[in-house]
């Protein structure tokens, strides 16, 4: 027996030991995704539906877009399902992903206290709103975690030409955590915050907060899906991953997305024809 064979046998034995605790041999694909898909209940919904079609299980790891991309780069995913176009295009361009397909969209919203202490509602415009918040120094909570929502927020600040000096500011708070935790934070200190619509609708601790700005072209929120490039990650399950994408883009998949409701409201809109 060669030494190589011996080592391989050992590895197989160890794998067998680990197997005792791990999942059953069922085929599954790992999706690195954003917290909004999980927290809104969308993922549970789509997983149940997909199980009727396929024996492939879905394992969804919900983190911020930034972390999801980093995890996918390390090959800890078969699919990347996030919402920041620029980062996604870069991911594909650098050879980590095969291609990007936009699956669905909704929008970002500005959430704040019902009495709107900064007086934004009259303007109903996100650019103006950010300027008012900046000038009035009313508390604002940022995700600060390189998530899709955080990146979007940074783009918006840049768009209105405001550069925030985070260190000195006593009104701009970086929560450094997920959308839900950040909403909890904002609600408790009576701050404004940029959120995706699905998380807000399913959020259970709204108290006296409500939507201040919504329905603006600038605030569109596209969810893109990317299969991992097998050239970079040889163990990735490309065909199972692509089957899932194909299913999401199918007529059935599209209508399932459109029929998903949170508290009676539609939160995702299937994107047609784009990419």
């Amino acid at each position: 027996m060669t030494k190589y064979n011996y080592i391989m046998k050992k590895i197989i034995f160890l794998k067998f030991c680990f197997f005792f605790f791990s999942l059953t041999a069922q085929e599954f694909i790992t999706i690195q995704s954003t917290t909004s898909l999980r927290d809104s209940g969308f993922y549970n919904y789509i997983q149940d539906k997909y199980q009727e079609e396929s024996s492939t299980k879905l394992k969804l790891v919900a983190v911020g877009t930034g972390q999801a991309i980093e995890n996918a780069k390390k090959c800890d995913a078969d699919l990347l399902f996030v919402h920041h176009e620029q980062s996604e295009m870069k991911f594909v361009k650098n050879g980590y992903g095969l291609y990007r397909k936009v699956i669905m969209h909704n929008d970002f919203i500005l959430v704040g206290p019902k009495n709107d202490p900064a007086g934004i509602k009259i303007k109903k415009n996100i650019k103006e709103a950010l300027k008012i918040i900046y000038n009035s120094k009313h508390p604002f909570v940022s995700r600060g975690d390189k998530s899709g929502t955080h990146l979007k927020e940074q783009e918006l600040w840049a768009l209105v030409g405001i550069k925030i000096e985070k260190k000195k500011s006593d009104w701009y708070f970086e929560s450094g955590s997920g959308m839900g935790s950040s909403l909890n934070f904002a609600v408790n200190i009576g701050a404004y915050i940029l959120s995706d619509r699905s998380t807000w609708i399913s959020f259970g601790n709204k108290k006296n907060h409500t939507i201040i700005v919504e329905n603006e072209p600038l605030l569109v929120n596209n969810y893109g899906i990317i299969p991992i490039n097998p050239k970079n990650c040889p163990t990735t399950k490309s065909s199972e991953a692509e089957k899932f994408i194909y299913w999401l883009k199918s007529k059935e998949g599209r209508s399932l997305i459109n029929n998903f409701r949170v508290n009676g409201q539609q939160v995702f809109f299937s994107s047609q024809g784009v990419n």
């Binding site: 005792f20 790891v61 995890n71 935790s181 601790n205």
Partner: protein
């Protein structure tokens, strides 16, 4: 205040409407933590007993090291395991990231120092007492280890509980390596963290209450075992 009492009453209602999804989560929690505990004891107790009986070079340093490892930050453990077991990491070929296996592993790393450190103190003091007698009877090294382990068994129960407590309450490491994936790697603590972040405070509180109830009942069982074996422990 009315806010809090409302959350409390709702959460109590939720506990009694215990559904299968919840019981799956509880079951997975127990399975992961008890597996980690079992393996940690199988590794840790012999190491502690060996260190109590044998004088070896660097023993004091070893104990110092183990004692300091008791304070390992779970998040750090999770991060290191994540990097190591990531597909592109050195042990990625095991393909155990995002599985209960790696959660067990994380908990072992966290509770092994506790098991070793606390049981070492117990076993060392017993061996200190027994040493002369065992030596005068020329009892072998292996038998000496077995004797102190056996005679310390009721004291060691407390150690085991301390380990289990840390395992059950841990969240930082397993949420990173397990990924908090529904039905696969979502346990009580990670569910609490998740539901809190979703603003579902009632559900989070209900889960926390269940966790505490489990902890209390485990402690109670051990207390009863100790109580009823008091005459058998011959201490």
């Amino acid at each position: 205040m009315s806010d809090f009492s409302e959350i409390l009453t709702n959460s109590i209602r939720l506990i009694f409407s215990f559904n299968t999804e919840l019981s799956d989560i509880v079951f997975l929690s127990l399975k992961v933590s008890l597996s980690a505990l079992l393996i940690s004891c199988l590794i840790g107790l012999p190491i502690a007993a060996y260190s109590s009986v044998k004088a070896f070079f660097g023993k004091k340093f070893f104990i110092l090291l183990v004692n300091s490892l008791m304070g390992l930050p779970p998040v750090f453990v999770g991060l290191v395991l994540y990097i190591v077991f990531s597909k592109s990491g050195p042990l990625g070929f095991f393909e155990i990231l995002y599985t209960p296996t790696v959660m067990v592993l994380a908990q072992i790393i966290l509770i092994l120092p506790i098991i070793i450190s606390i049981s070492f103190e117990t076993l060392e003091s017993i061996y200190f007492e027994y040493e002369e007698m065992l030596k005068s009877l020329r009892v072998s090294f292996r038998d000496s280890i077995l004797i102190i382990l056996w005679d310390a068994r009721y004291c060691l129960l407390t150690t085991v509980l301390a380990g289990l407590g840390r395992a059950m309450s841990e969240v930082g490491a397993i949420i990173i390596v397990g990924g908090n994936i529904a039905y696969y790697t979502r346990v009580m603590t990670t569910t609490i963290a998740l539901e809190t972040s979703k603003g579902n405070l009632e559900l989070a509180l209900a889960l926390g209450t269940i966790l505490i109830l489990i902890s209390i009942s485990l402690n109670f069982i051990v207390f009863m075992v100790k109580h009823f074996t008091k005459n058998l422990s011959y201490d």
